[in-house]
């Protein structure tokens, strides 16, 4: 539904533009009297889409438009208003009026159960949400809170739409609580036109844009948006008739991807010149072009951060308590498709699209764990958990790219071995040439851990450190200069010796300031903290000392949940014994640790 409405608006916009009339179409439909029904419907669409978004920010994703089992589209608005007329869901159910609802919908009686289910799933919650929203509002702000912001006619319509349900409420029109609704309506008020209005519906629109774009990118025209379902509100805009044919045709092609299309569609490369044969196709191409132009021109279509700002759900009070992180994660669902849209222009559309998709999927999981929060920032390979999310793009199978730009040039096999340049064979580092040690000590190959030394307290921290040092020394003697060549001198906690205690402390504190989710990181500007150290030094310290120390702590205190990828986690403190002190006074530290109950767990 939301899909449909925005598409509709968008198309109308496109076409009004082409008629030299840049005015907003909402304006169109608001101003044209005699279109009450259409107005109501559009209002319904708007509010319903807000409801869906809010719902979906709670992880409750509901696909629109609604299709019944037999592929029939269901007009939610019509259903809603019919049921409302008859007194609401409960009344209709009690009195057994569903039959007549179905009949009035003009549908076969056999879909009764489906329709009822759809109502239950979509509109029942919507109804409750609506009245709750109204209640809250009247409690909080009094009746007139935002009333002013609503144009009178809208107000009345909405009232009439809902009156059957809200008879028991104040007679005054109760203003809408959700600020996003207000925002919508404000926008209408300001008549600031399609641009803003559309930006509000970015998500929906971009889905559509992307459908259309997907068309252009798909090798096989007929595969286009196998899952695309375009719902057209029955009567909304003036210009709609001119395109309904095209939309119907598109819908048909989308629904029956393997039906032969008459006349056959041309190759994508020839679309520009394509003139005749299929009017709908020509129209579709024009719409696509117009959308592309709009997309580029639209100021809000730039970065996703802007979109986050624009997203109405960000203003919602109700989600505030969920914590910003959760909001961020779940909001991504509606946002991502848009950002993916922006990349449709590039030749690598399919590739980008796919990676982006991962983030969509991930974001759909509202119970995102700490780890995922930080990864969900990136539309990328490293999206860990993937939940299959219903998406029309599941059907756009990614194919291997073909052409000079992709394949390697493989010469024909001539049957002769051509010269493999022996110049680059690598420099032998080991065994060191002219080295007699080669044949010695073979008995030690692949030895395991000794686990003990000759000292009194075997297995103690000191003891382990002694063994490590011993092995290191042995390796050093054995390797000679190679030891340095491989950088073994810069491995392990040894590295921390080049750092003063102060520096270590500073580093530790700086790392604590990392907030991956906000892209705040020490690494963005490490020289801010340390002038003298090179980045390389710091990376080396990070892996060889910092993480190892952290890991040591984890091994001891939380052995069941060790994870060396700690740059992912926003961890708190991990004990005062961390760092140099820990190395210097292990027994003391251990005493401290044994105070910790977790430690007993481990013991």
């Amino acid at each position: 539904m939301a899909n449909g409405s925005s598409l509709d608006r968008l198309e109308a916009k496109t076409f009004t533009e082409s008629h030299g009339n840049g005015d907003c179409l909402i304006e169109d439909c608001v101003d044209s009297a005699g279109h009450d029904k259409a107005k109501q419907k559009s209002l319904f669409c708007q509010i319903f889409s807000v409801y869906l978004k809010e719902n979906c920010s709670r992880g409750n994703v509901k696909p629109v438009p609604v299709m019944l089992g037999d592929g029939q589209l269901l007009d939610l608005y019509q259903l809603f208003s019919l049921v409302k007329e008859k007194g609401g869901y409960d009344v209709v159910s009690r009195k057994g009026l569903w039959d007549s609802v179905i009949v009035e919908l003009g549908m076969d009686i056999c879909v009764l159960a489906s329709v009822k289910l759809v109502y239950d799933k979509y509109l029942h919650g919507f109804e409750a949400w609506l009245s709750k929203t109204f209640d809250e509002k009247s409690l909080k702000n009094g009746n007139n809170g935002c009333l002013n912001s609503l144009p009178l006619d809208l107000e009345k319509e909405f009232q009439s739409l809902l009156c059957s349900n809200l008879k028991d409420k104040d007679d005054d029109f109760v203003p809408l609580e959700s600020s996003n609704i207000i925002k919508h309506i404000d926008l209408v008020n300001q008549k600031s036109s399609g641009y803003l209005l559309n930006s509000k519906n970015l998500t929906n629109k971009c889905l559509d844009v992307q459908h259309v774009d997907g068309y252009s990118n798909d090798d096989d025209d007929k595969k286009f948006g196998n899952g695309v379902k375009v719902d057209l509100p029955a009567s909304r805009k003036r210009k709609r008739e001119s395109i309904s044919g095209m939309v119907n045709w598109t819908r048909h092609v989308a629904k029956h991807p393997f039906d032969p299309v008459t006349p056959p569609l041309p190759e994508p490369s020839k679309w520009k010149e394509y003139k005749g044969g299929n009017d709908f196709f020509v129209q579709l191409l024009r719409a696509r072009d117009a959308l592309a132009v709009r997309k580029n021109a639209e100021p809000n279509s730039g970065s996703s951060s802007q979109k986050v700002k624009m997203h109405p759900a960000m203003y919602e009070d109700s989600v505030g308590h969920q914590g910003t992180m959760k909001l961020r994660c779940s909001e991504r669902l509606p946002i991502s498709p848009k950002s993916r849209c922006t990349c449709c222009n590039s030749k690598s559309c399919s590739a980008n699209g796919n990676k982006l998709h991962a983030s969509v999927n991930m974001a759909a999981k509202p119970d995102a764990t700490e780890k995922k929060k930080s990864t969900s920032k990136s539309k990328s390979k490293w999206s860990k958990k993937k939940k299959p999310v219903p998406s029309e793009d599941d059907f756009r199978v990614k194919h291997v790219s073909i052409g000079n730009l992709f394949q390697a040039e493989v010469p024909q096999w001539t049957g002769e071995v051509s010269d493999s340049d022996p110049k680059w064979l690598g420099t032998q580092v080991w065994p060191v040439k002219d080295d007699s040690k080669l044949t010695t000590k073979t008995e030690f190959i692949a030895r395991g851990r000794r686990g003990k030394c000759s000292c009194d307290i075997q297995g103690s921290v000191d003891c382990v450190r002694f063994l490590i040092a011993e092995n290191r020394m042995k390796l050093k003697l054995e390797l000679g200069s190679v030891f340095y060549q491989w950088g073994f001198d810069k491995m392990g906690e040894e590295v921390s010796l080049q750092w003063t205690a102060d520096e270590e402390k500073k580093f530790k504190n700086a790392m604590r300031l990392n907030i991956p989710s906000q892209n705040k990181s020490f690494w963005n500007n490490p020289s801010k903290y340390f002038f003298k150290k090179t980045r390389k030094d710091m990376v080396s310290y990070y892996f060889n000392a910092y993480i190892i120390q952290l890991r040591t702590y984890q091994n001891r205190v939380t052995p069941k949940t060790v994870d060396s990828d700690d740059d992912e986690v926003e961890f708190g403190s991990f004990g005062d014994g961390f760092g140099r002190n820990r190395i210097r006074h292990p027994p003391v530290e251990f005493m401290e640790c044994s105070e910790n109950k977790q430690c007993w767990d481990y013991e």
Partner: protein, 430 residues
Amino acid sequence: MRSKDRIAYFYDGDVGSVYFGPNHPMKPHRLCMTHHLVLSYDLHKKMEIYRPHKAYPVELAQFHSADYVEFLHRITPDTQHLFSTELAKYNLGEDCPVFDNLFEFCQIYAGGTLDAACRLNNQLCDIAINWAGGLHHAKKCEASGFCYINDLVLGILELLKCHPRVLYIDIDVHHGDGVEEAFYFTDRVMTVSFHKYGDMFFPGTGDAKEIGEREGKFYAINVPLKDGIDDSSFTRLFKTIISKVVETYQPGAIVLQCGADSLAGDRLGCFNLSIDGHAECVRFVKRFNLPLLVTGGGGYTKENVARCWTVETGVLLDTELPEEIPENVYIKYFGPEFSLKIPNGHIENLNSKSYLSTIKMQVLENLRCIQHAPSVQMQEVPPDFYIPDFDEDLQNPDERIDQHTQDKHIQRDDEYYEGDNDNDHQMDLP
């Protein structure tokens, strides 16, 4: 006492200090840890270790487009804001960030694979190992999935100078799309990739229906798997397919990409393999006694990567390693158990027996097509390998295409029901 195979192992101490940036799962430091663990087990005493040369841009341009290589050479973190168009064009950014010494890093790992291939070509060794290589996603004109330069393609091109046919095997959890794409049209390279496919898992390619085109038709094999595959099903499938592939294709050399992200507990992966299962694949490939180039690849839980590649180095050296990890400066990364074993994953195996056998049948079916249509290059193969073309009908190209299209339809429906919750409200109607 040397292993009877001559093993060349490539390592450059500089790779370990490369840092992709905070929160990036790719940590070249794992190469440091691997190398250190290999040495802790004294495996260096059984092999030769080389420092690779830094591949020259012109070498990289044997596969990659010159402009892309040139751009990689030029770009630095400080100047990248000036080139946003190019960055987008070459897909640099989030997955493939620009970091300090990026190009040097590419030169080292690509140089390693090139040198390895060169040594194999000159028969200076039987097995060459470059754990720093194996960046199989990189494309001709763009970076992808943490990969900038596709060293595998470069290495294979090098091997093709001396071998009519090269077999590429990929056990990374991600599809080896870069290599497959590069050799999609040729029958001189057969690519076989075992990977997770579906649920929009990166990179999104790797369906069993992708089999190559033109001369390369049937010379790309994809084994798409679902989450949680375990040792027994994976190794069984691997052995069945690979033995048939080697028997059919008769490669002159094998390139094995050992991405360790197919292990259980990987930060990005979703398989349930143990190190033993993973290494078993390496052991199996080694037994063919063909020139073998082994590279690394993915692997994002770095202590497991180090464990895995150390064990596999041991496997290639015919050396069994004791479970307890010897004391070394990185020992703490291997806690709390300090052993080579990794904990089992808890991912449910979604690969049913019937699914796996369907995949297997499909792959073997495609392989049979090779026997029916030996290419020019296959003339190298001894004649007794030819199976007479007794059923000419199968050769009818039209018919095959039809069948193929039909298969497509079937697959498509499958996906529709499996992956799509979109219409579930219709499905669960009473």
